[in-house]
Amino acid sequence: MLDLFYTPIAEFEFMQRALVGVIAIALGGGPVGVFLMLRRMSLTGDAMAHAILPGAAVGYLVAGLSLPAMTIGGLFAGVIVAVAAGLVSRFTSLKEDASLAAFYLLSLALGVTIVSLRGSNVDLLHVLFGTVLALDDDTLLLLASISTITVLALAALYRPLVLECVDPIFLRSVSNAGTPTHLIFLGLVVMNLVGGFHALGTLLAVGMMMLPAAASRFWTSDITVMMLVSVAIGILSGLSGLLLSFHAELPAGPAIILSAGAVYVISLVLGREGGLLWLVWPGRHLEA
């Protein structure tokens, strides 16, 4: 038992660092994912991840494997796309999903072009898939700061955010906090994706955000509890993914997301709030 859970992490520093990194990502990503889900923007995370990729790639091409350059590049590209899409949807008749699709595709195409111009095929692919097993001090600090900022910002914006989720028209009628709240929230999404990108890569980073959130929806209908549950699920799947990678010799990033996926499927079946099993039971009750 000790060998299974404790030894790998106690013996190896890189496992400890990976665990700390994953916990930081879960702390920030879980609540953000819950809000994304409640606002029916679950796929927005995926689109934003694509939007970040070219920015990070440009950062890499300019400064090599430097943490600040890639972070700033990713933040820059993501924020531009998020803000542009948000503003277009607020002030024109185009809906948020359509404008986001337009902007992220533009950003992606631009990034691919810039990378190709460079000519030689650097190991960009490896760079764009993060390395959760190789987190250094700077990356850990970055991840921790991002989750701290995220939690603080969500606490400050909690009321308008919840109102935006359940009744945006009411919010618009009583206050004009809607637009700034929305933009700050999109900024938080981008920040968390950029953080997750360093550990898991652009595409898998979305997984740590959405899968725990989607799973938590099956256990409660209270938003606060839902966020706590999603953070717990994120941490749990991070830990089990790392252990899975250690014992079963799987690549670490995908193993973490697969663990989160497993939790999601279990929640889907067993979840108290609308899980499949609970949908089947009362039906039989009524017939009987």
Partner: protein, 309 residues
């Protein structure tokens, strides 16, 4: 009618544009045009072909041929070429499709033909890491003995395509083989100076197995033979344990690999990171490993400096 005319003039414009970008390639019509898939092979072909051959290299310096994605310009180079030199041993998984789709009439020559291939995985615990290569390790050029086989294959292919240059190719190949012998002697001399119990090195991806076989330095890598695979936590843990247990002094990062993982391993074990070594691609021409010979020299000096100190 108008639209058709517009379309025709647009096409004509495109053709003019395309033609204007071609003259670089069309400058030397009498030279034999050949394509080599990656920089190390390109350098060998250049040495054997000399003035008579114009070599285009698909994957340039510091590029990773494992995961290369070809561009239309590569297709054009292939169409113009008489011979396409590949490493073979499934190193360039993308080349067959590219040759087919370019519709080139060029002959494809596997430079590693006749090399005795090493099995991709000697240790069974690393199963599933070499899907890219179908079993055999393609990095055959890391042994200079194999490089000589490459050179012979290149020479024969060039002679077959260009009878008139036979004497030149033979003379070039002979003098190049002599220089390869010199380097090999130097490599063996340097290895001999390293105490046998210290001949152990960690590299980021498993590209030095032929070197190991030929010259007797042990190499261990977390990433497997292809750079395509991702290391698992177990692989990293195993290497850290091995470094600590066997007191391995140095780890090396290749020019085509992600350095972050090796830095982590080095920090955790207290091993030093040796200077950058070159496995799958040359450096820029004015860098430390601009040619195959310079590359082998640079690598063995880096290894011996780290292991002897």
């Amino acid at each position: 009618m108008l639209t058709r005319r517009a379309a025709v003039s647009f096409l004509a414009g495109c053709l003019t544009l395309a033609a204007s970008s071609l003259p670089v390639a069309a400058q030397n019509p009498d030279k034999l045009k050949v394509v080599a898939t990656f920089s190390i092979l390109g350098d060998m072909v250049r040495n054997v072909g000399g003035e008579r051959v114009e070599v285009a290299t698909l994957v340039g310096p510091n590029g990773d041929a494992h995961v290369y994605s070809p561009t239309p310009a590569d297709g054009r180079r292939l169409t113009e070429a008489k011979i396409v030199f590949t490493n073979g041993l499934k190193f360039e998984g993308w080349i067959d499709r590219l040759v087919k789709s370019s519709g080139t009439g060029a002959e494809t020559i596997e430079a590693a033909k006749g090399v005795k291939p090493l099995k991709g995985e000697e240790e069974d615990h690393r199963h599933g890491h070499d899907h890219g290569h179908g079993g055999s390790d393609p990095h055959a050029w890391q042994s200079i003995g194999n490089a000589k086989i490459y050179v012979a294959n290149i020479r024969d292919a060039l002679i077959a395509a260009d009878e008139a240059g036979k004497a030149t190719y033979q003379a070039n190949a002979a003098s190049y083989l002599e220089r390869l012998d010199e380097v090999e002697a130097e490599v063996k001399g340097l290895v001999a100076k390293i105490p046998p119990e210290r001949r152990r090195i960690i590299t980021s991806h498993d590209a030095f197995r032929y070197f190991e076989e030929a010259y007797g330095i042990d190499f261990v890598a977390p990433q497997g033979v292809s750079t395509e695979s991702e290391a698992s936590a177990k692989d990293v843990a195993r290497i850290i344990q091995q470094i600590k247990r066997e007191k391995i002094a140095a780890v090396f990062v290749e020019n085509v690999s992600d350095a972050r993982l090796m830095e982590r391993i080095a920090k955790e074990t207290g091993a030093t990171i040796g200077s950058r070594v070159y496995s799958d691609a040359l450096s820029e021409p004015n860098g430390p490993a601009g040619t195959y010979i310079d590359m082998m020299r640079h690598n063995i000096r880096a290894f011996s400096a780290a292991l002897s100190s």
